[in-house]
């Protein structure tokens, strides 16, 4: 995954949730990375989970029922 690929991010309530989501996604072998929340989405000081858009459904499936998250945003 390079920065130029179309990507999406999952937004969470807190960094603890984001870290747990990273673990769950990596356990499913979904390439992802924790990054600061892009400015246009929130002014919060938190992090979000970035993934390539091709993995969108896998991310959603992996997290559903495991963890609360606000939303998935495609950028």
């Amino acid at each position: 995954m390079t920065r130029e690929d179309p990507f999406g991010v999952v937004l969470f309530e807190s960094v603890s949730h984001a870290l747990r989501a990273e673990k769950i996604s990596k356990a499913e072998n979904i390439p992802c990375k924790l990054i600061p929340v892009p400015r246009q989405l929130s002014s919060d000081c938190g992090v979000c989970l970035r993934f390539s858009v091709v993995h969108r459904e896998r991310v959603e499936r992996a997290l559903s029922g495991q963890l609360d998250f606000y939303e998935i945003v495609l950028l």
Binding site: E13, S14, V15, S16, H17, L19, R20, K23, L34, I35, P36, V37, S42, S43, D44, C45, G46, V47, D68
Partner: protein, 385 residues
């Protein structure tokens, strides 16, 4: 001469090398503030804190690690639970064996309109669950009790009490696991525990200044935090977040301590709680056997059988005061133990040793049979004085 440390119930010593290495590694190579910035070193710090949460969740059979809140010790965890949960008009049940970390918050609450029942135990510290069953009232909100006494060593019938609280809607079981987390199997699901307070620096092999509280899903809505502040989340709002664990974790955490605690918990997971228990049971059994050599010169408190105890043993020697005995053992034999009341006057009243207290030897995973034998030899020399 090397010190023989028999005060593991106060704090464990030594710690596994992994505990110290994790702390040094965090401070040398990472150093960031967890959850406070988006950069790599902050995320790495957050990862350390999260991995500690995961290790503890595995150890206590908690399905979601975010149900665990970090505190500075078990006392803070118990205060969050008790002060946050109990309201004037509520009734709370506890036992006659409790440490002041439970007793003092409860006495405070009792002076502010909470009804308190203290269920007596036998003079060996054994609780009859039927006595507790009879104490429930319509307004009973919680049962608060230790998993094992820090004075008598008695392991409490948690499973039986858990069955009583689970049968009653709205009754919460809050357990003080300061002496047992890491030393005995703790399964919050199987035991029916709703709130579990633990310390990091005893049998979990973390450093002092670490501890935590497990809160069963949904229960946080009825427990007000007593601190509010920055959490690194929801920064655009001036109100405290309501979600776990941020609701109760504000201000920069003790990341270096939690790094050590995570390594300590991982060490126990690797060895297995059962192996830790087996080792400590062997030492306890050996010391109980050695005490028999002294016949009537030793008054032993707590259950006679090692299986009913954690690895601590309280006793008195003839007319020798506990403090004199401890000073002799320290100065003449390099043996570190703890005399007195052990912050648990209620327990000492129960066993009839208030106010003079007892001598307490508490063995840990790093003690050896040689330590036990040396301790017995030292007691012999003291009695022959």
């Amino acid at each position: 001469m090397e010190a023989v440390y028999l005060d593991n119930a106060a704090t464990s010593f030594p710690k596994p090398g992994a505990t110290l290495e994790a702390m040094v590694r965090y401070q040398r190579e990472i150093g960031g503030s967890p959850g406070r910035s988006g950069h790599r070193l902050s995320i790495d710090a957050g990862r350390i804190v999260h991995e500690t949460r995961e290790a503890l969740a595995r150890l206590f059979n908690v399905d979601d690690p975010l149900r665990i809140v970090f505190t500075k010790n078990a006392t803070e965890a118990l205060n969050i639970a008790l002060i946050g949960l109990l309201k004037p008009g509520d009734h709370v049940i506890t036992t006659g064996l409790e440490h002041n970390s439970v007793m003092r918050p409860l006495r405070f609450l009792a002076s502010h309109g909470v009804e308190l029942s203290v269920i007596p135990t036998s003079d060996r510290g054994e609780l009859d669950p039927d006595d507790m069953s009879a104490a429930f009232r319509v307004n009973t909100r919680a049962v608060v009790m230790t998993h094992a006494s820090n004075v008598t060593g008695t392991i409490m019938p948690l499973k039986e009490v858990g069955a009583l609280t689970r049968d009653r809607e709205n009754v919460v079981l809050c357990v003080d696991a300061a002496q047992t987390a890491g030393a005995l199997p703790v399964d919050v699901a199987a035991m029916g525990v709703d709130l579990l307070a633990f310390t990091g620096h005893k049998s979990l092999f973390g450093p002092q200044g670490t501890g935590g509280l497990y809160i069963r899903k949904g229960l946080e809505h009825g427990i007000a935090p007593f601190m509010r502040g920055g959490t690194g989340s929801r920064s655009e709002f001036e109100e405290q977040p309501e979600f776990m664990p941020d609701k109760y974790e504000c201000g920069t955490p003790n990341t270096i301590g939690l790094a050590g605690l995570g390594a300590g918990a991982a060490y126990i997971l690797e060895k297995g709680v059962d192996a830790v228990r087996a080792k400590e049971l062997t030492l306890t059994r050996r010391f109980l056997n050695r005490l028999q050599e002294f016949g009537g010169d030793v008054a032993l408190y707590g259950p006679a059988e090692a299986e009913k105890r954690i690895s601590l043993i309280s006793f008195n020697l003839r007319d020798i005061t506990p403090s004199d005995a401890a000073l002799f053992l320290d100065e003449q034999w390099n043996i570190m133990c703890r005399p007195g009341l052990h912050c648990a006057p209620a327990a000492h009243r129960t066993i009839g040793t208030f106010p003079q207290g007892t001598v307490r030897f508490s063995f840990g995973f790093f003690n050896t049979e040689d330590h036990v034998d040396l301790a017995a030899e030292a007691l012999r020399s003291l009695l022959q004085g």
